[in-house]
């Protein structure tokens, strides 16, 4: 095992509270924003948290001075995303909430999260999911890296940290269509991970009990030095002017194979001019 070159790794994991995709999702909040009842910790952010916990465990655990902070930005109920992260094993939680944040697009979200991380940090590593399962833009991690002037390693499918005299070196694998790449950088860095990287743990009873005693802070905009016009609808660079549910796909024909289904399938394709 590596010797830690620094007092310990300070890792922030960004977790988002999103509508559960198992239910119908709607854009009928104010100004076509997401309706947020039935929300959960974004499944894709669980992979980022698991990656943080595994890195800490591989390098000496809490005893080595490493610390994982779960961070979310969102309305009141979003705190449950942080609570779940604490149950899974994060040491500390932070919830940024303020009425003025409502309606933030990626640019405003990344501005707020950058200010929040600067206020809480410095962090050696900022971990995020590959995309939020509601916005699905994958813009926030890259914009955070740009704003915080951090090297970005996005869509990591495998991750390793190595300690050396000069600091920590991060190596990641990223899988593309035609090739797979090895990427390296020195910490501090911002890393987003895919769902290929690990299998997130479930909170166990001990974790659930321990979470109740872990520090959880709630901060508002003024705590991190931002004003209302820098975030939310006012601070966003894009606007959703209209949103409409797509008409659901109507169910077509379903046949049961009686020995000729392949032929009937070809008839169907021919009828649709798809052959």
């Amino acid at each position: 095992m590596d010797e830690a070159p620094t007092p310990g790794l300070n890792i922030a994991v960004l977790v988002k509270h999103v509508p559960d995709a198992q239910f119908d999702r709607h854009l009928n909040g104010p100004r076509n924003t997401t309706e947020r009842s039935e929300s959960i910790l974004s499944e894709l952010d669980e992979y980022a948290l698991e990656a943080a916990l595994q890195l800490v465990e591989q390098h000496g655990g809490d005893a080595a001075g490493h610390r994982v902070t779960a961070v979310t930005m969102g309305p009141g109920p979003a705190v449950s995303a942080v609570k779940k992260a604490l149950q899974m094993g994060a040491a500390e939680g932070v919830h940024l909430t303020d009425d003025a944040l409502a309606g933030s697009d990626a640019s405003a979200t990344s501005r707020a999260l950058a200010a929040l991380l600067s206020h809480l940090g410095p962090f050696d590593l900022v971990l995020t999911g590959m995309a939020s399962t509601d916005g699905e833009t994958s813009l926030v991690p890259a914009q955070l890296a740009e704003r915080l002037d951090l090297p970005q390693v996005t869509f990591a499918a495998a991750l390793e940290l190595e300690a050396a005299e000069a600091g920590w070196t991060l190596t990641a694998r990223r899988d593309g269509d035609a090739y797979s790449e090895t990427i390296t950088c020195q910490l501090p860095a911002l890393v987003s991970v895919t769902d290929q990287i690990n299998e997130p743990r479930y909170p166990n009873f001990k974790g659930i009990m321990a979470a109740k005693k872990k520090p959880l802070r709630t901060l508002s905009l003024s705590d991190i030095g931002l004003t209302a016009d820098e975030v939310g609808f006012a601070g966003s660079w894009t606007a959703v002017e209209a949103a409409e549910p797509r008409p659901p796909r109507s169910q077509g024909i379903v046949i049961t194979d009686e020995g000729d289904a392949g032929l009937r399938l070809v008839d169907f394709l021919a009828g649709q001019k798809l052959l």
Binding site: S107, T154, I183, C185, T238, Q251, G262, L263
Partner: protein, 315 residues
């Protein structure tokens, strides 16, 4: 006419299909110029010319691609400044979106991803919640940066070809960037790219390790082979074939789903396909809820029979 900059984030030797679509869209919005994030040889420049590009911006140091995203984003921002463009169009691949994200911060400009149409007034239509919503969005600050999904527009060459003039752009070296230190090529399948394919035959856990009947049908139809996460996780096929929330989002003319149950995460990647055909043993599979033509049956008998019949009809 406004200048519309098309950004080729991952240039090949010749114009890719998606780039031809972007250039065609650019011409409907104004005068197209291009910025190529790397080298541009004559075949690529000729291609740009035939799509009406008058000016092609190139990085002074073509190694901008060595660093991850940061270098290309810095180049895009500089190319926008140099060209005076008032709109940027680029692809919707992960890397393209990230370049857009960072360039957006540099240019203090809004970014819209997953765009399927752009109106004259630059209102962008995009699909949301895995294709279950359509929204109209606008960039309200800065130069609109729009990441456009493939197959959103029919590519057409310009009536009047141009001979692009090349302009070299100095790019500031990003202070902190990760570097690509290794690269392992994956074997080519010889089939069309999933994102661009007009026909996709996708298999799931029901394929049980044997993709041969799917490949046979895909090849007959000139299509690509896709998969559910269950199939890629099992290692039966490359992860890059995965369709769904954490894989590719596709909208081909025809999607044939075989041995896939149709979980929300799978539907997220394929429910905007024009025609969906599903073959599944289980009549209660959710995939049948979105299929235009469903077969309750065994894929190992249905697919080969269909392939045989297509061959017969073509003979």
């Amino acid at each position: 006419m406004p200048t519309v900059l098309v950004f080729l984030h991952d240039p090949g030797a010749v114009l890719a299909k998606n780039d031809r679509e972007l250039l065609t869209l650019a011409r409907t919005l104004g005068d197209p110029v291009a910025a190529v994030a790397g080298d541009a040889g004559d075949p690529l420049l000729d291609g740009l010319g035939s799509y009406g590009v008058s000016t092609c911006y190139l990085p002074a140091d073509p190694s901008v691609g060595k660093s991850l995203v940061a270098g290309k984003a810095a180049f895009l921002a500089e190319a926008v400044r140099a060209s005076g463009a008032s709109v940027v169009l680029l692809g919707n691949a992960y890397e393209a979106k990230e370049i857009a994200a960072r360039a957006g911060v540099r240019l203090e400009s809004g970014v819209i991803t997953d765009v399927v149409a752009v109106a004259d007034d630059l209102t962008a239509t995009k699909s949301v919640f895995a294709g279950s919503y359509t929204s109209q969005c606008r960039v309200t600050t800065g130069i609109p940066i729009l990441a456009v999904k493939p197959n959103s527009i029919e590519a057409a060459e310009a009536g009047q070809p141009a001979t692009p003039e090349t302009v070299s752009v100095e790019v500031p070296v990003p202070a902190a960037a990760a570097v690509i230190t290794g690269r392992v090529d994956k074997p080519a399948t010889g089939r069309p790219d999933l994102a661009e394919a007009r026909v996709i035959v996708a298999g799931g856990r029901g394929v049980d390790g044997n993709f041969a009947p799917l490949e046979e049908l895909a090849d007959l139809l000139g299509g690509a082979v896709g998969a559910s996460r269950a199939a890629t996780d099992a290692g039966w096929i490359e992860h890059s074939a995965q369709i769904g929330q954490t894989g590719k989002t596709v909208s081909p003319q025809l999607y044939i789903s075989a041995g896939i149950s149709g979980a929300v995460q799978q539907k997220a990647g394929m429910q905007t396909s024009q025609v969906i055909v599903a073959i599944n043993k289980d009549p209660d599979s959710p995939v049948f809820e979105i299929a235009d033509f469903g077969v309750v049956g065994d894929l190992f008998t249905v697919l080969p029979q269909a392939a045989e019949e297509i061959r017969k009809r073509r003979a």
